[in-house]
Symmetry: D2
Subunit: 348 residues, 4 copies
């Protein structure tokens, strides 16, 4: 093999679904491609998809969206950092103009900050159209640094990325201040479906969620995370759709909340940091399979900027919901997880 | 496209290196395949690889290895949970026998626990030969649950996975108790190399590491994580070598520590949770490209169980080191990150 | 006021209880002094104490005890750090002898470690009799450093305290590896008592615990913490009994777990890091009120070393249980918290 | 002792200082009372105070202030929660009016939120004059809940405190969104002072801060915390001035950042969550010693609402700075910590 040229690593991929989705972004039944080496993920997610058809659909609500980049500037002392910060807040519209010049799609919507000693951390927060926006906000941040230092010449450059963004690291800031799409998925599953299709009960599911996802995660020293395996579905979805899959790190920091309602089950997955885009790296002509997947998902339509990406986020979140529901149901029964893994791998 | 059958999502892949590695596991120069949609990662990691050749090699030290699964059992109260726990510690060799029957390669080496109210969380810790070991420890845990409940019939099953393992979630437990290979990589980079090949200085690097990786990560509410982008290299390496790439979540929770030594730079990456395997899911005949990559990495040799996997871990850690060094050097200079991204993507 | 001499700040103190306690350490009814500026704490904790009398007592189970100090040593590289660590584990009995010479009461029971680059963090773990043990382990660590550097002259001193201990800081390590007493308290509260004495129901309590202590703490980015106000009772108990009250930081990182059992409520508080002592700073002749309190609590008896401190820990944990139960019950009803605060402060 | 009546637990107290403070809030030399059972704290903090006189004063900059309370409301689903939230943001001025009616001093300045499934967490953020404000925001939140449910009758009460506030728990949210005063203290210490008065060097201090406060805290799984013992000074200051000392939990989550500047030392302590008040619980006629302390600190003057509390916060932060500087300097030298502890306790 000539090691200088680009080649391709083929990841096994299969369609699951259709998944029925309702809510403020998608109202549709959608088949979803999942690219993964962990082949038991397909039948497991598929089981969840079937449940979505039986229960009127998974409600996916997009709460918020933004992409962020934090820079670090050095001031002489905290007072100077504070004065600069005050000035920036007073001139936010000027900052917005600086950003607008760097891209047709980037729009500065908020600014958060931290002052640590004489260091000023600025977290620029933008909407970025259909792109996940990593590069767009870096470009914007580059321009903002130049503008700020011009206005405040006593400050100097420390870093284009100060890890208060924060990209692809286990942290709390993204869940609290937002990064990517914030999506909640939820559905009520009737007792009969629980019994027949998931071999479980509402009470068993709520007990498991408390003991495993809440208490277990807590004692593991988890951070803003209470779920069984959001990461698996996210990874497979991200790879199939040309996303920067390292963003599963913040993406997987989400919460399962469920309740017994009469004998039915209210089940929800809250994912505040779903970073997806339908344009940018990982997409385009030389990646025909990704294009095919995005087209089949209905994310290659002529729409207002951002709408294709929001559609993709809602479908992604619903896919995570399906896989999470299915695995938790399996774990309510002793031995079922291992038995089904073995069965699936034999078939696989 | 017939959506029922399996197809493949091809991930762009390129070789970087060779990387020179020394230490208690690998003493070799190795070319490394990286599968990623983020193509600027290749030249960036490659720049680090070149540095490794100029400085006598990256020292990769494997500190520890284990794979874990935690189960949850319900007792009547905390006292009963404690009595059971005491009994299990006293009969650890019997637990080892139970595990040994489930696999030729699984060996129970430790047991940690938490008692929360009447719930008993048991974290079983095994070596697993050349496998990453997820399924091996699940199978072992299944057998252990049966054995424990037989011995302590007042206890009952709560969950096969209690999230105290913890798999693919941002947490503290894995770094503290271990999961996967614990690998430290380090190298001293002379001043001349810093200036010429990385366009930086030792002092600039240490300042940036403090302000970005330590302070910036801290204020972001990060957990056991102080690095710029371990996740990117991990993801690309994992995909190219057939790993369960969702394990980048714990894998990326590592620490960069560097020091000025005279005017040279001591640079190190500590990665306590590198989960890799050379057998199991993601490997095998139907994944020819993965096999080719593993073979080229020298991880398909006849060796004692575990040696191929440890070799893979050391190479993986050295690859992360290369990419981290290169990006941090770029970020010490204003504007360089964006300029090189743009240049690489044009070339890319 | 002559500002050079010592004077005293008087903290308002009142007795609550008696609290009925059962379990592996205390089987008794005990009145408890609470020193606090937050006077509504007294009637609130008292309400919980009354419940303990009605329900057969709070079961307090001591799971574990230890005090820790971590030191940092510098090696040339990670390999040397690892070799040293291996040697220390092989010669653990020699380390125990070094510790035994520093105090009649300190006994080295375990050693945990972390290697970060060339830095070796060693966490020495001791039992310390009736003392909380901060100074005892510092003295032991001082001696161990000398001994280790003598054996391994290539290593050098970095710090007597490496924050991997970790003392009085919000972290995960203490809950996972232990520091102080690990105590679980639990009790089943019949429906009638819930309704009449706490104006609530089992279901309301479980729902509140999930939504506030588990989900709410989670989204706040809490770490190993799921409770309403452990800190308040701990502070008041610590001040009244001469403890180093800054240890409420790790002490308050505990978990409430409760369940509906039929219509009764199983309620538990798990506190893995309760740091208390009956000898040492804060105790002694010149602190007569503390002595009086300890005596009334039955912690000034002639017993085997450690037994008085364990008794104090069990009483402390039961006190926390009382206050937590009472506040949560109040918060299940809209407006009750504020109304009772106002009423109590008027009375107070 | 008649156990029904209130008595007092006397905490040993001594004055340290004067501390020289400069900046946007205090420009003064102030003696500070510290109430603690840990008597070595006095000479240690005093050593730092002396340094402040030699170096032109500790610059204390107040960055922000607010007190918060989060409530939880139940909606039917996430969409309804989102609609409500949108409505609240659009009618923020009405919310402000509701709050203004509950207190002369409470002013609603911001609102943050989280939607988890169908649960709506609202974090109300107020300025509260000279009070720390816990009760003021609870009262405000009570009124806001009533108003919101009146406007949105499909929502219902879940909890008056949803732990997204978050009070007295180890978490990330308070540092990121603010709670209490956000204060940065900083000072440059010349080489001669370091050598003579602190027996250390700038380089030694920076190395120790990196290895202990940053790396050590990181591997301990600490959260937004990088310091040696902020908690000790905070506790002693809080007790002496009538504060709710359980707030040392968030108060101690702060960061030491220092740098070598030529051979001098830039040293800073960033404390984003300093919760203090000069009115409210713990103050008043029946607590004469607290009143005496507050008066001596100059916090009983006729000033605009909030100014006395801000003065107290700046003094508190400067006190923490003194103790932190002194202990870190001691830990740069092997054996010094233990020797000085022993010496002080003998004298003590």
């Amino acid at each position: 093999m000539n090691q200088k040229i680009r080649h391709y690593t083929p990841i096994p991929t299969q369609w699951v679904g259709p998944i029925k989705i309702i809510g403020n972004t998608v109202n549709d039944e959608v088949k979803v491609p999942l690219a993964t080496y962990e082949t038991p993920l397909w039948p497991s997610t598929n089981r969840g998809a079937k449940i979505s058809l039986l229960c009127g659909g998974i409600r996916a609500t997009i709460i918020d969206e933004r992409m962020t980049r934090s820079v670090v500037l050095k001031a002489d002392n905290a007072q100077q950092a504070l004065d600069t910060l005050t000035h920036l807040h007073e001139n936010f519209s000027l900052l917005q103009k600086v950003v607008a010049k760097t891209s047709r799609y980037a729009r500065l919507i908020d600014l958060h900050s931290q002052i640590i000693g004489h260091l000023l951390f600025l977290r620029f927060e933008c909407t970025t159209g259909d792109a996940s926006g990593h590069n767009m906000v870096t470009k914007a941040a580059d321009a903002l640094i130049l503008w700020i230092i011009e206005q405040h010449p006593t400050l100097s450059y420390a870093s284009i990325s100060g890890n208060y963004c924060i990209d692809k690291k286990a942290s709390a800031v993204n869940g609290i201040l937002g990064r990517g799409k914030n999506v909640v998925t939820e559905m009520v599953i009737p007792e009969a479906v629980l019994t027949k299709n998931l071999r479980t009960t509402a009470e068993k599911m709520v007990t498991l969620n408390t003991q495993k996802n809440h208490i277990g995660s807590n004692i593991a020293g988890s951070l803003r995370s209470a779920n069984a395996h959001f990461a698996n579905m996210l990874l497979a979805f991200y790879l199939a759709t040309g996303q920067d899959a390292a963003n599963i790190i913040e993406g997987s920091q989400g919460i399962v909340h469920c309740e017994v309602r009469d004998k039915d089950l209210y089940f929800s997955c809250s994912m505040p940091n779903l970073i997806v885009g339908t344009v940018g790296n990982g997409k385009g002509q030389d990646l025909a399979m990704v294009e095919e997947h995005l087209q089949a998902l209905g994310c290659r339509e002529q729409r207002n900027p951002g709408e294709n990406a929001r559609r993709l986020a809602a479908i992604c979140a619903a896919t995570v919901f399906c896989g999470e529901l299915s695995l938790l149901a399996a774990q309510t029964n002793p031995g079922e997880l291992m038995r089904s893994h073995i069965a699936m791998e034999r078939k696989g």
